[in-house]
Subunit: 347 residues, 2 copies
Amino acid sequence: MLKDLNLVPFVSVENMMKLVHAIGIERFLRELAEHVEHDFTRWESFDKTPRVASHSKIGVIELMPTSDGTLYGFKYVNGHPGNTKSGRQTVTAFGLLAEVETGYPLLLTEMTILTALRTAATSAVAARYLARPGAKTMAIIGNGAQSEFQALAFKALLGVDRLRLFDIDSAATERCAANLAAFGFDITCCAAPEEAVEGADIVTTATADKQYATILTDNMVGAGLHVNAVGGDCPGKTELHRDILLRSDIFVEYPPQTRIEGEIQQLDDDHPVTELWQVITGTATGRRDERQITVFDSVGFATEDFSALRYIHAALKSHPYCEQLDLLADPDEPRDLFGMLLRAAPG
Amino acid sequence: MLKDLNLVPFVSVENMMKLVHAIGIERFLRELAEHVEHDFTRWESFDKTPRVASHSKIGVIELMPTSDGTLYGFKYVNGHPGNTKSGRQTVTAFGLLAEVETGYPLLLTEMTILTALRTAATSAVAARYLARPGAKTMAIIGNGAQSEFQALAFKALLGVDRLRLFDIDSAATERCAANLAAFGFDITCCAAPEEAVEGADIVTTATADKQYATILTDNMVGAGLHVNAVGGDCPGKTELHRDILLRSDIFVEYPPQTRIEGEIQQLDDDHPVTELWQVITGTATGRRDERQITVFDSVGFATEDFSALRYIHAALKSHPYCEQLDLLADPDEPRDLFGMLLRAAPG
C-alpha cells in the first residue's frame, strides 16, 4: 500500500520566493524558459481548451486547463483592475499539476509570482527567434508589476543589458529602476515614450489599462524593431496602433485565443499570423532580415502555465520548499470512505 | 490597508471530518440540504457552464465552475475506476469558493468527503418531493462509498429508518451494515436485488461499474416506488433498464448534462423530463399520486458543489476547523510584486 496518498505538495508564496532565491532569479528564468520552449516543440501533443471564463462587470475569473496526455495542469486566475483600490492585486493566481493516470494532484502552488516569471520567460523565448541578433537595448513602456521580470528574462536569455524605462507614473519608473539597480543594467529613465524607444532593439509594452490605448504610435517604430506586446491581453485592451501591426510580421501563441484577446483583435479575422511553436520547431520562419518589424502579440496560454507547473514540480526534488497538504481522503480500505469518517469521531 | 490578504482558509480532510463531527452528521446533512435546496430555488440566477472534462483512456479530470454573480465556485474532480488497484480513491475532489467582486478566494477545501455528503443531501432533497409521503423503507443496491451517506441523509431529511441492503460483494454489504449499526436503523442484508426491493418505498442504486448495467429490471419496480439513481453518472454508465424509465416520471438536475451522463442517455433526446428546481419552486409537479413511479436521475451538478462550498464557508464561522494558506502574493505596494520578491532574498 502506498503511503501518504492523502498529501499534496503545496508551494506557498513564501516558499515560491525561497525557491526562486535558492535557484537564483536569472537561472530560474533560464530553466523555466527551457521548459516553456520544450513544451512549444511538442505543441501538437497538448489538449488545448479555450480558457473557461466567468465574467462580471468588474472583472473576470478564469480556469486555464491543459494536458499532454501524461500530466494535467490548470491555473485559476482573476483579473480585477479595480482591486488596487483595496490594496489587492489586479491579478492573482494559483495552479495545480496532476497525473493523468490516476487523476491525483502532484502539486498545488501559488502562481501570482510564477505567472509573472513564466510570462517574462515566454517573451524572452520568443525574442530569441524574433529580435535582431545581438539586441542589447530594450525599452520598457509600462513599469508596473511585470516590468522587472521582463528585464531580467531578457538579460538572462538574450544578454540585454541596457534598459530605457517609461511609465505615465514616474514613481513606477523610479521603483522599477531601483528594484533593478543591483542587476548590472545600464538604465535610462525617460520622460516620454518617444524618448524610451530611441535606439532600442526591442520594445516591451506592459501597461495595465483595460482599454484600447495607443502606447506605441506608428512613427515610433523603426525598421528592425522587435515589439514584445505583453500588456494587451483581454478583449477591449490593446496597446499598439493598428498601423504598426499592418507593417509588421505578427507572432502569436494560440490564434483562436489571441484573435479575441490580443493586439490583433484590431485586425481582420483572417489577417496572417505565425504561431510561435512553428517558429521554434523550424516549420515557419521567425526573423527574416535586419529591417523586418516583428511583433510578439503575447496573451499568455495554458501550456506556458503547464510548463511552469512542470518546472516547479521538478525543482522541488532538489529544493523542497513546500508543505504537505492533507487534501485527499485516503481510507484504509478505498471503498470505505464513511468508515474513515466514522472512526475520526472524537472518543 | 486590509491585513492578511495573502491568506486563504483551507479545510483539510482531517478538519472536514472534525467539522462534520462537531456539527453532527445528521444535522450537517440537514443544513447542507437546506443550502442545496435554497440554491435550487434561485436556479435561474446561476451561470451554468458545462463541466470542462479532460478525458483519457483510463479516466477523466473535470473542472466544474459556477457563479451566482456574488460568489464563484469550482470543483476539481477525477474519476478513475482503476484507482482502487493502487489503494487510491476512484473519485477525489477539492474545491474553491471566491468572491466575484475581487476574484479573491474565500475558501479552499477537500471535497472527496464533502461531495459524498452533498450527493446524499441532494438525493434526500429530491426524495422529499418525489417519494410517497411517509416513506420509511429504503433499499440500497450498491453498498460502496456512497451508501452510508445516502442512508443517513434519508434518515435525517425523511425519517427513513428501515434499510434493505444488497451488493454483489457481500463484504461491502456487511461493512455498510456495520458502519450504520449505531444510527438506529432496522437493517436487512439481502442476498439478491429482488429481495432488497421487497416492500421498499424508495430504491437507491449506487453501483460503481463503468458500463451499461441493469441493476434494476422492469419487474422489480412496483407502483408508487421512488428510484434514486445515483450511480449512473457518466457517458456509457447506466443502472436502470430502459423499460423502467419509459413508465416513470423522470426528474433531473440539468438536462443538457443529464442527457449525456445520466440514465436518460438510453432515451431519445427529446424524452420529457422535469427539472428538479421547477418542482422545488412549485412551477412543476413532483409526485402526483400514490401509484406513480418517480426516478431522480442524479448525476451531480456544479450548483450543488457551490451550495456545499457556501455551507462550509458559513460553518467555519462557528467551527473554525481550518488552516490559513499563504496562497496569494500580497506586496506592501500592490504594483510592486518584484520588490516583494527582492526583499525576500536571504540576507
